[in-house]
Structures are given as C-alpha cells and as structure tokens.
C-alpha cells in the first residue's frame, strides 16, 4: 500500500526537506571555504591603524572602530548579496539540466513548495555564513575595543577627567564596540541578501540562461540602491508639476514602483555602524518590508513556474 503523502497546497515539512537538501548541496560544494580569506581579513585589519593615527589624545579610537566595522560589514554585505544571487541563479537551471527536477516534481510536491524550499535553503546558507562572520567580527572588534578603552582611559586620566566622567567617556567608545545595535546592522544585510535571492529566484523562473539571471539580478541590486532617489523625486516634484521632464518622471515612476528600496537596509546598517539609536521597531519595520518583497517575488515566481513545461 503506497503512502498517501499530504498534498496540501503548502506544506512546511516538505519545504524544509527541500531546504535542507539545498543546504547540504551547497555545503558539500564547499561554499564555506570562502570564509577562510574573510577570517584573514577580519583578523588582519586589527593590525592596521589609520595612517594619520596620532594616538588617543586626538580621540580617534572611535574612528578606528568605525573603520573596522565598515570594512567587516561591507564585506559581509557584498558576500551575502553576491552569494544570494549566484547560488539561487544556479539552483533551478541546475535541477532542470540534471533532470533532478523531474523526479522531484513527479513526487507529490507542489511547485510552490519546491520554490520556497530552494529559496529557504539559500537563505539558510547565507544565515550560517553570516553567523560565522559575525562571531569573527564580534571577537576582533571586542579585542580592539578593549585596547582602545585602555588607551583612552589612560589619556583621560592624564588630562584630568573627573572620576564621574571617566565612565561616560569610556561608554562613548564602548558604544562603537560589539553591541546589540551592531547586530541590527548584520541582520539588515541578511535581510537584503534574502530579498535579492528572491529576485534571482523570480528571474530564474523565466530566464533561459544563468548568466542572464545573474546579470539581471545584479542590475536590480544596483538600481535598488537608488530607488529612493527616484522615489523622492516623485514625492518632492509632483508628476504633473509646472515644468515636468516627462521622460525623467516616467523613468522615476517605473523605478520606484518596480524595484525594491535597498537603501532602507543599507541605512539601518550604516546607522548601526555609527552606533546611532536603531530601535527594535525599526528592525520590525525593515523585517516587514523584507517579508513583503520576498512574498511578492515568491508568488510571482510561482505564477511563472506553475505552468512551466519541462
């Protein structure tokens, strides 16, 4: 007697099975080896002072820590976004070419489950990689922050800071170390990478070549970085204003409506690096936008993929 599998429209269990398989596939492709040079970079920048570093008396420790965070977070952002594009772009065409897709779709697996499972798998690998990089970042930043705190404390005592102000001075430096707010920056980059992976998923469902998928997704990544410029133009200059440059307005409208606003994610990450007060509610809103983007792209992917023939 054959097993009657659940053939509901959406099965979390099936999605997780496909996601787990995707993770195993990517891990056994040794994608995590790239973490070795990144670890070297994160540890290596510990030993670089700013070239015009003049010591604690100029109170530049803050800037050193910022630069450390900028480089590390920038690396994490570039890696996670690129990986999101390339890994997703290769997955579905790879399955079609290898015909593994046939055997999967001939099991009671709705196409939506397959798509969501693949995307979740990529997101899981990005997440794991970012956790590893984050641990490295926190460790190296902690070490450097402690060094700077010692330097600054010595200097403050030397110039006669009152006792009650020493703690506040130290706290200002410590705020640029590994804090919860910095983790918000890491999370923002993860969410951005997830959105760009969902874009790549959508494009791969109708693209005929992997290179086209990668190139187009990269274009979306770039255009998404200045979607906010186009959008603000629309809000500040009404569409039918006094002297509309129609071509510009049309392009701005198109960019604003169609492309995601990646600036939101970058702004949160930048703010986190500068130790600005990023709130839980900011992260909740950002998560909401990410979920919306991903949801839209997944639904559209399913729409295209559902009647695709193999």
């Amino acid at each position: 007697m054959s097993t009657r599998a659940s053939t509901s429209f959406f099965s979390l269990r099936r999605i997780l099975i496909i996601a787990q398989n995707t993770v195993t596939q990517l891990v056994r492709m040794k994608v995590f080896y790239f973490l070795a040079p990144i670890a070297l970079l994160f540890v290596g920048i510990q030993f670089f002072d700013l070239i015009w570093y003049q010591g604690a008396e100029t109170l530049q420790p803050e800037q050193e820590l910022r630069m450390h965070k900028n480089i590390c977070l920038g690396t994490m952002m570039v890696f996670s976004s690129m990986f999101g594009i390339v890994a997703t772009a290769l997955l579905i065409p790879g399955d079609i070419e290898d015909r593994t897709l046939y055997t999967i779709l001939c099991k009671p697996v709705p196409r939506l489950d397959y798509l969501v499972g693949k995307l979740l798998g990529v997101m899981a690998v990005i997440f794991i990689a970012m956790v590893v990089m984050d641990v490295l970042l926190v460790a190296t930043l902690h070490f450097r922050t402690e060094q700077k705190l010692v330097e600054v404390t010595e200097y403050m005592k030397k110039i006669g800071y009152p006792e009650e102000d020493l703690a506040a001075g130290r706290a200002e430096i410590a705020a640029h170390g590994p804090t919860l707010i910095l983790q918000y920056g890491v999370m923002a980059h993860f969410l951005k990478a997830s959105v760009i992976a969902a874009v790549a998923l959508l494009i791969s469902t109708f693209s005929t070549s992997t290179i086209f998928t990668i190139a187009t997704s990269a274009m979306v990544w770039i255009i998404g970085a200045f979607q906010s410029v186009a959008r603000e133009g629309l809000f500040t200059d009404p569409f039918f204003g006094e002297d509309p440059n129609m071509a510009e307005r049309i392009v701005s409208t198109f960019v604003t409506l169609v492309f995601p606003d990646f600036k939101l994610f970058e702004s949160i990450a930048d703010g986190a690096v500068r130790a600005e007060e990023v709130l839980h509610t900011d992260m909740a809103q950002l998560g909401g936008f990410a979920a919306l983007y991903i949801g839209i792209y997944v639904v559209l992917s399913w729409f295209v993929f559902s009647d695709k023939e193999f």
Partner: protein, 291 residues
C-alpha cells in the same frame, strides 16, 4: 481489480513552438490509450516519435494542448495524482552530493514517509536494487548502471501503484538489463502497473503485456503483445531430445495432410544475451570459487 484504469490518455494532443518563428510542431496527435492496473505496458517508437512527450503528459510535466491524461482517475496535472506514481527518467541524474541512502531518504521524505518505516524501506530498496554495499557512497562516483538502479529505488520508495520508466535499460550492460527486467517482472507479480518507454524492442518483448507503437505522434498500433507479434498461420513447435525417427514421422505426417508445410527446421537458438550471461556469470562463479 479496480475498473479505474491506472493510466488513461484521451485524445491527447501536444503542440510545441517550432524552430521557425510562429510554426508549431504537433508532437502528439490525438493519442488515446488505457493501461489497466497490474499491467506492464510498453510504448515504443523511433526517436522523436512522441513517446517521451506522451509520458511527460501522463506525469503532468507538460500540459496537454487538448485532451487529457489521468492516473487512477486523477487528472495528471493535479499534485494528488503523484502519490501513486514513481518515475525513472531517461539517463537519470540525481543530486551528486547525496549518498545512495540519502537520495532514497530524500525522495521518501518528499512522499511523506518518515521515521523507522522510511529507514526500513531504504534498506529494503537498496537491497532490492543491489546497492546495499554502496549505500554510503556519494552518487558522484556512480556508474550509469548504478544510477539507473538508484533511480529505480527512488521511484519505488513510496510503494507506488504505478511505475513510469523511460528507457530503463538504456546504456546498461546485459547483466544490469537482465536484473532490471527481472525486477519489472517481479513488480508485475506484486500487482504494480508498469508503463515503460523504450526502443530496445527485444527487452520490451520480454516484459510487456501490452504494447503501443507510436510514430510521428500517432498511435499506429496497440494491443496484447502475443496478439501483435504472433504470425497467425505459423506454429512453432520446439522439441527436446527428439530422435531422428520421431522427426521423420512428423515430417511424413505433415506431407500426408497436404494442408501445411514445414517452413524451416533446425536447432533451437538461444539468444546472444543468454550466451553472454552464461559465459560471464560462470566466469564470475569460477573466480569466486578459486578465492
């Protein structure tokens, strides 16, 4: 036995966009057939005849332009219909990063199997297809025959009532082909319906109950194998240890009736495959004995 056919195609038509702009190619032209539960049905035809397209339509991988296909009464395009189906594609590739056991486990999980039942089923299937020694080897290092066998294992993981096999013995050596053939016969004995496509006619002849011949998208002939290939007005009689005098008597009897004639006589022939197997298997047995 249920009245619902295991597979039914009704007036199936499938068009594809041709190489030239706007020109359609009709790959399948109004094909209709039924496969009864427990039957082994072979769909044969030359390359490009529409066999694979018909098979894909039955599996729901392509949508018919018109007409319909169903599996045990369920529309092929519905996901529900795939509960009962196991599919082995032509030249199958699976995820190379998985081991044999992991591959079967993956497909078993997709079918809703879990826990001990799945674990036992994996062991059972790997033994059935002769891959128990390679269960922890990654598919990357598998030969074509081994891939074919793991393909069979994943196709059968959820114990489906229907198996669809596309060129199951293509590129497989005679030993492997024989094993697959024997397996198909065993499945038939268990009451599992098998729908296979092949252009290796001799092998189709060995296993199929019914056969459909498709050519340029049209089902040109269909029926029970014995009925199709029987030469109506000829009878074959094979004797063992017949003496010369007995043979003379039979020849005389035929001459006397004036209704029939002896068309040919001579030693019955084995097949090249049987000879190959006899030689290779006896060689393997000798080597094993000498060790």
């Amino acid at each position: 036995m249920s009245d619902v056919p295991a597979v039914e195609a009704k007036n199936l038509v499938k068009d594809f966009k041709g190489a030239f702009k706007g020109k359609k190619v009709r790959a399948v032209k109004n094909v209709s057939f039924q496969i009864a539960p427990g039957e082994v049905y072979g769909l044969i035809g030359p390359n490009g005849s529409g066999k694979s397209t018909t098979m894909k339509a039955v599996l729901g991988l392509v949508a018919p332009t018109s007409g319909s296909t169903s599996i045990f009464g369920r529309n092929s395009l519905k996901v529900d219909s795939r509960n009962e189906v196991g599919f082995l594609p032509e030249n199958p590739y699976f995820y190379k990063h998985l081991t044999a056991a992991e591959t079967v486990r993956f497909y078993g999980k997709l079918c809703g199997m879990r826990g001990r039942k799945l674990k036992e089923r994996i062991g059972e299937l790997l033994e059935l297809v002769g891959l128990q020694d390679a269960r922890d080897r990654r598919l990357k290092g598998f030969s074509k025959g081994m891939l074919q066998r793991i393909g069979l294992a994943q196709a059968m993981v959820q114990d489906p009532r229907l198996l669809v096999l596309d060129e199951p013995t293509a590129g497989v050596d005679p030993t492997g082909s024989r094993e697959i053939r024997d397996l198909i016969l065993e499945l038939k004995n268990r009451g599992i319906t098998v729908f296979l496509c092949s252009h290796l006619l001799e092998q189709v002849q060995q296993v199929c109950d019914r056969v459909g011949i498709i050519h340029q998208g049209v089902l040109v002939n269909e029926g029970r194998l014995d009925d199709l290939i029987a030469v109506e007005n000829r009878t074959e009689l094979i004797l063992e240890n017949a003496s010369e005098s007995l043979l003379d008597q039979i020849r005389t009897l035929v001459d006397v009736t004036h209704q029939a004639e002896v068309v040919s006589e001579g030693n019955a022939r084995t097949t090249l495959e049987d000879l190959f197997l006899r030689e290779t298997m006896s060689d393997a047995k000798e080597q094993a004995a000498s060790k």
